[in-house]
């Protein structure tokens, strides 16, 4: 085989792969647009807030994806919906405004694609982040104490202080990162129907 022919084959194969996935992928799912939910008169998927957008990066940086996926599958292939992880399967349109868009590759813990609907309470999410064993004793999720500042407990608790205290003398105040992460988790709410994925 001549070097030029080998070069043409290798380059052609790589470009073909790239075009078939990235370019055709863009043509197929990259041009999707939000749709109007006639019940609420709002478009879905909703555009996440700036805080939630920051929270996505905190979520990635804390390595939550090493144990949690962000993609619920349909009833044909999995028990995801029976477990209550969502009311429908995740589809490409759900990820329209996600940056970075993440699906995860592991499930040591539950799928979080709909955690905002399953656990909407910010306090509970904060406590889970600080120490998951406060919510569930058998949890294997690691603690994240560095996401909270410790302040001496005064006569009056700070308005956003956690309900728990590490020693009774101190209160735990969520940092900006913790607030952003909770805002992101709350934004993961897919309880709306899409044309290609109706609610079950």
């Amino acid at each position: 085989m001549k070097p030029t022919r080998a070069l043409a084959i290798a380059l052609g194969a790589l470009l073909l792969t790239w075009v078939a996935q990235a370019a055709v992928g863009y043509w197929q799912v990259g041009r999707l647009e939000p749709v109007l939910n006639e019940e609420t008169n709002l478009t879905v998927p909703p555009v996440p807030s700036g805080l939630a957008h920051t929270g996505a990066r905190v979520f990635a940086s804390q390595g939550c994806l090493e144990c949690h996926s962000l993609s619920a599958r349909g009833p044909k292939d999995s028990a995801d919906l029976t477990r209550g992880w969502g009311q429908r399967r995740s589809v490409a349109r759900d990820y329209l405004f996600r940056d970075p868009a993440m699906i995860g590759t592991a499930r040591i813990g539950p799928d979080l694609s709909n955690i905002g609907a399953r656990m909407p309470e910010g306090d509970k999410l904060m406590q889970h982040l600080y120490d998951p064993r406060l919510i569930k004793k058998t949890s294997t999720c690691p603690t994240h104490p560095w996401l909270f500042a410790t302040k001496p407990a005064g006569p009056k608790a700070e308005p956003d202080a956690l309900q728990v205290s590490p020693d009774g003398w101190h209160q735990l105040i969520p940092t900006y990162q913790a607030r952003a992460l909770v805002a992101y988790l709350q934004s993961l709410n897919a309880n709306y129907a899409l044309p290609e994925a109706p609610l079950k």
């Binding site: 996935q21 999707l32 090493e66 028990a79 490409a92 990820y95 996600r98 499930r107 690691p142």
Partner: protein
């Protein structure tokens, strides 16, 4: 060949190989620590710092093992090999050395950034943007050096190594560069970002790392056994198929979800076809090694390369199995995929890298290997350790997948399913680390010439048959 410029290239190669070994020790150590945390979750209370967190340790160790250990090591041995199979010396040795330093700087920066600041969350690309730019820049320098191996000698040596080298040299900058542009350089919709991540994952694993390993297999095995590949047509077919199919293999990591279903189906078909490609390459290796079992038993480099070649075929057969339509939905989010990582990285690429270092470093550094029991420790600990870790993870993944598919099994009990297997995996990974420490010690001692007697060819102790294997023409 202009020998005066060879030492510059060999110094660059040595820096890459030493960096690779350091990365393997640190990366495997962190992997061990991460799995221990999975087994004992309360361990994170000992050091309540972000960098000690499971979520940081896993991407940091994967980055270090993938780019630091295998990437650096394979580039290092190829820097020794390329001028020898082309007969053309590196012209700009200092530039090459600069590229090497830049590569090591990228590895160190990427590792510390992931550990201290966290991963980017992108599949196959946990490092920050500036690290990717450093990697591409240094690869352009090192890759340009390696193209010397493709030069005017195209017709004078075995064709397959050159073809795989060409593929790898094109795939890395094209894949990483376009992934960076799509994922962090422009406003790409989230739905396309996921496709771009899986595309880069495929390029990285199957069009860059695997072809680099195949270059060494198809160059060194014929040299060490004194035989040529029997069917060039089969080899060419396998090469073309690798180039066409390799980029699709990442899409099988998604099941249902946001990836278009036709892409997932194509990924499944590509994975199954790649198993046949790997079997085809396996047949070529079979012809190269058949009847040479005593030499394989005795010669350290040959034994590592043979195990690496068979593990290559095994890893693609395992990938095809995990991609089967009735297996994939069960196994997709389980630790069965890290089992594939173990076979692919530790058994295939790790063994090929070790065999290549044993075969090529004496050529570059005019050093020898001692007849030490550390060689035996290295072989058995690394191969058995990696095989046991992969088996443990595969079994754990099977139980995990079945448990995840049954809504009656609470997710909180999942960890208890994994625990017994995690014990095995941790023990096996520790075993692998012991083997790698043995390798490091014998390598450092050989470089420093601490052994009173040494031979250019590494042999295991107490060989039953003494039959020399010529590596002479590698020296030319």
């Amino acid at each position: 060949m202009n020998r005066s410029t060879l030492p510059q290239g060999s110094t660059a190669a040595l820096v890459l190989i030493l960096g690779s070994i350091l990365a393997s020790l640190v990366g495997a150590g962190l992997q061990l620590l991460a799995n221990t945390q999975l087994l004992v979750p309360s361990l994170d209370r000992l050091i309540p710092m972000p960098w000690f967190n499971y979520g940081r340790l896993v991407p940091a160790s994967q980055f270090l093992l993938s780019y630091g250990w295998l990437g650096s090591g394979l580039l290092g041995v190829l820097l020794i090999l390329a001028p020898r199979f082309s007969g053309i010396a590196f012209r700009y040795g200092r530039l090459l050395f600069g590229g090497t330093i830049l590569w090591q700087l990228a590895i160190f920066s990427g590792f510390t950034q992931i550990l201290l600041e966290g991963s980017s969350g992108l599949i196959g690309m946990p490092q920050p943007r500036f690290v990717s730019i450093l990697l591409i820049l240094s690869f352009l320098v090192l890759g340009t050096g390696l193209t010397r191996g493709l030069g005017r000698s195209w017709k004078s040596g075995p064709l397959l190594p050159r073809l795989y080298l060409l593929l790898a040299l094109l795939a890395f900058p094209l894949g990483l560069g376009s992934a960076e542009v799509l994922l962090r350089g422009t406003v790409t919709p989230g739905s396309v970002q996921i496709i771009a991540q899986l595309l880069w994952h495929s390029f990285h694993q199957h069009l860059w790392l695997a072809p680099l390993g195949l270059v060494l297999i198809f160059q060194l095995l014929p040299t060490l056994t004194g035989r040529a590949a029997t069917s060039l047509n089969l080899g060419l077919l396998a090469w073309i198929a690798t180039a066409l199919l390799g980029g699709w293999l990442g899409t099988v990591r998604a099941s249902d979800g946001p990836i278009p279903s036709w892409m997932q189906s194509t990924g499944v078909v590509a994975s199954i076809l790649m198993a046949f490609v790997a079997i085809g390459n396996g047949l070529l290796v079979q012809n190269l090694t058949e009847g040479r079992w005593e030499e394989i038993r005795r010669n350290v480099a040959l034994r590592f390369l043979s195990v690496g070649a068979w593990s290559y075929a095994t890893s693609y057969i395992l990938l095809a199995f995990l991609s089967l339509p009735w297996v994939r939905p069960v196994m997709v989010f389980t630790v069965a995929w890290p089992a594939l990582f173990e076979v692919f990285h530790f058994l295939f690429l790790g063994c090929v890298l070790a065999g290549s270092v044993y075969a090529l470093l004496p050529v570059a550094r005019e050093m020898g290997w001692p007849n030490s029991s550390a060689l035996t420790w290295h072989f058995w600990c690394t191969t058995l350790g990696a095989a046991a870790a992969a088996s443990g993870l595969l079994l754990a993944g099977s139980f995990q997948g079945l448990a995840l598919s049954d809504a009656g099994v609470p997710i909180s009990t999942l960890a208890s399913y994994l625990r017994p297997f995690l014990f095995v995996v941790i023990f096996a990974q520790f075993f692998w680390l012991v083997g790698q420490v043995a390798f490091s010690s014998v390598l450092i001692a050989s470089l420093l010439r601490l052994f009173p007697t040494a031979a250019p060819m590494a042999v295991f102790r107490n060989p039953t048959v003494i039959r020399p294997v010529s590596v002479g023409h590698l020296h030319g």
